[in-house]
């Protein structure tokens, strides 16, 4: 088992290197640091000197890959690739283009993101599984058909509608909770209710339909027929046999997104003015802060790969049929 986990982790290393190279190419080769400086300082009317100053301030004044002017190991280390890209592996994120420490900002902004993402995941999971189970219980009746149609309709509505509509209805018309904002500690709760509610509602359509399909596949299997044949009631069949087995794909499907919860949701956070990592990314895109976007791309990939490794491990834990190959 430990050898398996180690091997999975080793597989992740070349992928991380690949991601790092892609971000390097995207951010430094497609457009040179000169282009970025010009973009930041305003087009055309920028002198060479101003560009040089900007590059020196932000550490972009080194050569890209090989520093011919330096001695020994410094020919490789005193370059943009080493200073900006390789250091990401040590989780040394450096400074943003506006001069703030990115690592510190991420550490601060992670918590509001989690405060929304975790409740959305847990509440959503509970509701989606219950509804899907209900539909499977009433399978091939009008309730089932109506439920599926409703799911398709819910899926077809833009996520923007849920947010705008929710803010308008609950925040403005009913005045139940503040429309947007955030607070520290327990006072944040009243700001979190609406984003969590909207997050759950906007996910219902697609998830319930997926879970219903998974459950239906399970319902038609032989062991379920056996369970019924030996006289178990429908409720017992559902909860003790179908649910337990169908939860395997559901849970392993969730493990992959667990690490990504840190990254927060771009839309929800920017709409509700929550100072999480999602709105951090949006702000960086709006201000064209390349350093932050680069770090977020790398961080997102690391978390996703972590999710993949965790998924593989969780498969072996919950399903004894999976061999460690």
């Amino acid at each position: 088992m430990i050898a398996y986990i180690l091997r999975r982790l080793l597989y992740a290393i070349p992928i991380l290197i690949g991601v790092n190279v892609i971000t390097f190419v995207l951010f430094f080769v497609v457009n040179t640091p000169d282009d970025m400086a010009r973009m930041q300082l305003g087009q055309k009317r920028v002198g060479e000197q101003a560009i040089e100053n900007w590059k020196r301030e932000h550490g972009y004044d080194r050569p890209l890959l090989i520093n011919a002017g330096a001695q020994g190991a410094a020919t490789v280390t005193d370059t943009i690739f080493f200073q900006k890209s390789v250091k990401l592996f040590q989780f040394d994120f450096g400074q943003s283009d506006s001069g703030r420490d990115i690592g510190y900002d991420i550490g601060q902004r992670m918590w509001p993101s989690l405060a929304i993402a975790v409740p959305v995941l847990l509440v959503g999971l509970l509701i989606n599984i219950s509804v899907a189970l209900l539909l499977v219980f009433f399978r091939a009746t009008y309730i089932d058909v109506g439920g599926v149609v409703l799911c398709v309709v819910l899926m077809s509505v833009s996520g923007l509608f849920y947010i705008i509509g929710g803010q308008y209805l609950i925040g403005k018309l009913l005045r139940l909770v503040p429309i947007s904002g955030y607070d520290t500690g327990l006072a944040a709760a009243k700001f979190l209710v609406l984003p969590v509610l909207i997050g759950v509602v906007s996910g219902i359509g697609a998830s319930v339909r997926l879970y219903r399909t998974l459950f239906l596949e399970e319902v038609n299997k032989d062991y379920v027929r056996t369970a019924r044949a030996k006289g178990l009631g429908e409720a017992a069949v559902m909860f003790q046999h179908v649910l337990r087995n169908a939860l395997i794909p559901v849970l392993t499907g969730i493990v992959v997104v667990l690490p990504l919860l840190f990254m927060g949701s771009l839309l929800t956070e920017s709409f509700f003015g929550i100072p999480g990592l999602g709105s951090y990314t949006i702000d960086a895109i709006d201000m064209q802060d390349f350093a932050i976007v680069r770090v977020m791309v790398f961080l997102g990939s690391v978390l996703y790969i972590l999710g993949l490794v965790l998924t593989d491990i969780s498969y072996t834990l919950v399903d004894p049929r999976v061999r460690l190959a």
Binding site: I22, L26, Q43, M155, S156, L266, S301
Partner: protein, 469 residues
């Protein structure tokens, strides 16, 4: 003379349309290709959804025929016979919608502005809602004439719709009558009752709905702003209709541009195994491990830097916006092709062990002939299912991306840009709702139709699911 312009997305859009026609022509003559589509045509939901998608498609195609309009003779300058502006055939058809601008917000079908203005009258300065420049300008007394005029326009629209509908029904009945040797009225009745294998009654019911809405809107739009005007006085209906092309381009071209790479790599990985498989798997795992939104954000950001530094490379604003649209398609494709590639690899892994592939290899048939003749046709249904299933997700994604400013160019009409422009309008007192409602409504209808069709197509094409029934 108008000078035709072929934008990059136009070319690809028409290529796709041609491919579709070629596929239909080929599939008509092969029973095994026809059978699943016959099942699709027998589904009531699919027929209704196809009619709706078809009407979107017609508008999208009309909006893709671009040209430089000729200049007025009065403004004629030597050596330049056409303006640099790029219009589409659709713009010409709905002419007044594009040009008739108001000052600012006006409600749907309104005759007066939504905001009050100070007007100097005989009794000094008063605050009133001024009359619109174009909406209902033909009415002498709006309070008295408005309801009657709207009703008469609705009536005329419905009459026109009924006329077109009857002509279509008549033609269809005549064709059916020739085949079944029935008199035309009897055949028409049969079509409306849905006798026969296809649900023709649903077809004509949906057609009636679409035609009525279309004709009534057209008739009303000649005199009013049917969905009101936005902040700068542009007609909301026109924006929503123009956005159709953007939505369709994103939904279809994204999959199309990455399709060759995804199919080739996926099939090769599964068929050849070994180091080819390892390499291709590494490639798509690496690309897919970057979260999609962030990759798009980074790429669009870099695109903006490139455009800002190379302004001279683009002939016109329209062309620049169009290239950005195409670039968005490509980058969306990069983030979404990996799942298709993985599916195809799995299927090819299975296929290479099957007897007929083994037999072909034993006969000494070359690898690429085996791939082309025996593997590719048998993974085609997966490709089709993916194309259809991805469509609605991509249309929704465009709105979200444009909202976050990493989507289409701000000058391109799209539902995302409409929502982005209207983001603060619900906070106004009184509320301005029509821009948001129009964008979300048009998007919802398209996505719903696509989702419904996708379900039916998947059920019809996936033999595994068919066996489970």
């Amino acid at each position: 003379m108008p000078v035709p312009v072929l934008l990059a997305t136009d070319a690809l859009f028409f290529t796709l349309f041609l491919l579709l026609l070629v596929f239909v022509a080929i599939a008509r003559r092969r029973e095994h290709l026809r059978a699943p589509w016959r099942a699709v045509a027998r589904s009531r939901l699919a027929v209704a959804a196809t009619v709706v998608l078809g009407s979107y498609g017609v508008i999208g195609l009309l909006d893709s025929l671009h040209f430089h309009p000729p200049l007025d003779v009065a403004a004629h300058r030597p050596g330049q016979s056409h303006s640099t502006e790029v219009l589409s055939l659709f713009d010409v058809l709905v002419g007044p919608l594009r040009t008739q601008k108001e000052k600012t917000y006006s409600a749907p079908l309104a005759t007066h502005l939504y905001t009050k203005e100070s007007v100097e009258g005989p009794e000094g300065v008063t605050r009133v809602h001024p009359r619109l420049r174009h909406g209902g300008a033909h009415l002498s007394d709006p309070e008295r004439d408005w309801a009657g005029d709207v009703a008469s326009r609705v009536g005329k629209g419905l009459a026109l719709a009924a006329l077109i509908w009857s002509v279509i029904l008549g033609l269809a009945a005549w064709r059916r009558g020739r085949r079944t040797r029935e008199p035309v009225p009897r055949a028409a009745l049969g079509l409306l009752r849905g006798e026969g294998p296809q649900p023709s009654h649903i077809l004509f019911l949906t057609l009636a709905a679409v035609l009525s809405i279309g004709c009534v809107t057209a008739w009303l739009a000649a005199g009013y702003h049917v969905l009101g005007t936005d902040k700068v006085g542009q007609d909301v209906l026109y924006q929503a209709l123009k956005s159709i092309r953007t939505g369709l381009v994103i939904g279809t071209l994204t999959t199309l541009v990455m399709l060759p790479a995804a199919v080739l790599l996926g099939v090769m990985a599964g068929y050849f195994r070994g180091w080819v498989d390892d390499l291709i798997q590494y490639l798509y795992t690496t690309l897919s491990s970057i979260p999609g939104v962030l990759l798009i954000a980074a790429a669009i950001l870099m695109m903006q830097v490139y455009v800002a530094n190379h302004e001279e490379a683009f002939a016109s604003i329209t062309e620049r916006a169009d290239l950005r649209l195409l670039f968005l398609c490509v980058i969306l494709g990069v983030t979404s092709w990996t799942s298709l590639c993985r599916l195809l690899r799995g299927e090819a892994l299975k296929l290479r062990e099957l007897d007929y592939v083994q037999a072909a290899q034993a006969f000494g048939v070359g690898h690429f002939t085996v791939l082309r003749r025996h593997v590719l046709p048998n993974v085609l249904h997966i490709v089709l299912i993916t194309v259809v299933l991805d469509f609605s997700a991509l249309v929704l994604a465009e709105a979200v991306l444009s909202y976050v400013n990493i989507g289409v160019d701000p000058t391109t009409e799209s539902w995302g840009n409409m929502i982005n422009g209207a983001r603060l309008e619900l906070a106004r007192e009184p509320v301005v709702w029509w821009s948001l409602a129009a964008a979300l409504g048009f998007m919802f209808l398209l996505v719903l139709a696509a989702n419904l069709l996708a379900d039916v197509v998947r059920d019809a094409l996936d033999p595994r699911l068919r066996a489970a029934r």
